[in-house]
Symmetry: C2
Subunit: 303 residues, 2 copies
């Protein structure tokens, strides 16, 4: 069962050499979900050999350019490369107009259905649910409407104790019943109890993504207990006034948030162009929350 994220961009508003604007590719059982889509995202996918056509869902946190300017280029390329499968796009309602005006003037008539789902920056809620995943949005506190996302694996089936089940002569056809936690009664009245032949499944894991936000902790309920939390850490804490002014978070604050949320691991990104070296940001964060890693381009994290 694959549940991992590859970082495509780690820079904040202005890119620097070797740091691209925000984008992450979530891989859940080899289905791809794109989280934010800064300029050059399609080029980053090419660089890391990740097939853009496998993406069926794109989630945009907010309409600052460094989080969505790669979207029209990516959709155009999918179109030109023959896509017919629907694409689901989630984002602020104005995103629809931004895309439509560009396809209008380039006279692009997409060959695939682009299903736009408006996110609500005021109210949290589920935005989609499929066999692998439940995705939710929740409000963040930024200069313009902005949402975070939380991805939670669907609950899995109980695991069969195969040796015990075979020793008891249970036919394999009965396994799916027991895996669902149900007992099975044979035609002769014999009962196989699920509790005797199965154990609890792995707990569904979750990944929370906080793109751009002031450290208000108002979104704590939505990130609590995430196995992995991605949180922006644009500045070092000595730049706190600047962070407050621009509605961003410092590395120390990101660590405190992960601590308070009880997250398993913390990934930090969205680094200001002023930092050539990222180690000071990592160190500051780790001084509060040890299990922190830098979400830099080309790294893949198992969630």
């Amino acid at each position: 069962v694959r549940f991992e994220v590859t970082i495509l961009g780690s820079s904040s508003a202005t890119p620097v050499f070797n740091r691209n604007p925000s984008a992450q590719l979530l891989n859940v059982n080899d289905k791809y979900y794109l989280i934010d889509c800064g300029e050059g995202t399609q080029l980053q996918l090419l660089r890391y050999g990740l097939k853009a056509q496998r993406i069926d869902h794109i989630l945009i946190s907010h309409l600052h350019g460094d989080h969505y300017l790669g979207l029209v280029g990516l959709l155009s390329s999918l179109h030109l490369n023959g896509r017919t499968r629907p694409m689901y796009l989630y984002g602020p309602k104005e995103l629809k107009e931004i895309i439509e005006v560009q396809f209008l003037y380039s006279q692009t008539d997409l060959r695939f259905p682009l299903v736009f789902v408006e996110t609500d920056s005021e109210r949290p809620g589920v935005i989609f649910s499929n066999e692998d995943l439940v995705a939710e949005t929740f409000p963040l506190e930024h200069r313009i409407p902005c949402t975070g996302f939380r991805f939670t694996q669907q609950p899995r089936l109980r695991r069969i104790l195969k040796a015990e089940a075979e020793a008891a002569g249970i036919p394999a056809e009965v396994f799916p019943v027991l895996k669902r936690g149900l007992d099975f009664t044979t035609a002769t009245g014999r009962i196989y109890r699920s509790a005797d032949f199965t154990v609890d499944p792995e707990r569904p894991r979750s990944y929370a993504y906080c793109s751009d936000t002031l450290d208000t902790r108002s979104y704590m309920a939505w990130i609590r207990g995430a196995d992995t939390l991605y949180h922006e850490a644009t500045f070092l804490h000595d730049m706190l006034p600047r962070a407050l002014e621009t509605f961003h978070t410092t590395a120390r604050q990101a660590g405190e948030i992960a601590q308070e949320a009880g997250a398993g691991h913390l990934l930090i990104g969205h680094f200001s162009a002023r930092y050539r070296e990222l180690k000071p940001l990592l160190d500051e964060c780790k001084s509060v929350f040890e299990k922190t890693q830098l979400a830099v381009e080309g790294t893949t994290f198992t969630l």
Copy 2:
């Protein structure tokens, strides 16, 4: 006197690894002019150490995404990095709406004046003229309105024959008069003739840029005699039907156009993603027009 172009992108509609969408940086006496601005252009400028703040004019040939999707990101970064100097932007009139809607929803109030000058895809004409350069647009034949550009150096002053002038005892203060082709009469009535002490200046050089077009030769008058011609060469000639269908040019046609135009040199670009190796395109073109080079990323051509 510097007159050169650096290639930032050589790919057509869909980028491939190591080939970016269209953008070229024209350097005229260390002032920068950006010609087209595909996605990732600001990252390419960073890659090659070219200062984006030196750009004062941006020209967009047409509204297919691979020619302009880097524009909003570039303008945003200039804004965030403190630009106050005006930026002149030339392109189809719909470009204004595309930019405005994006700055509206990102709540970006640019710190610098963005002066938009609409190009006319039906009628050729001068779009700007300054101390270094005259720039003209001319219609190309593409699926959507599209213009080419021609950049011509301003005529230069005549060159002083310094040794002869000094031998004749002409004061240096008189040189500027003679350089302008005017004769100078001293207070004592002595006449220094410009023709005796100067020679013709270097001929103003010119660069013509044909982004995306069907090979109609309808634009021949506007590229004739260009010292350097950039022309798209999306396909090999065996793909002619595809070139006609998509309103593009083949490498052989690009060579024929350069030949017919009497161009000094030809640069070809806008290569289809189907070609991993570009040598066949170069070879096909050179079989018609020997002085051809590939306009690939990171190369600088003296014009």
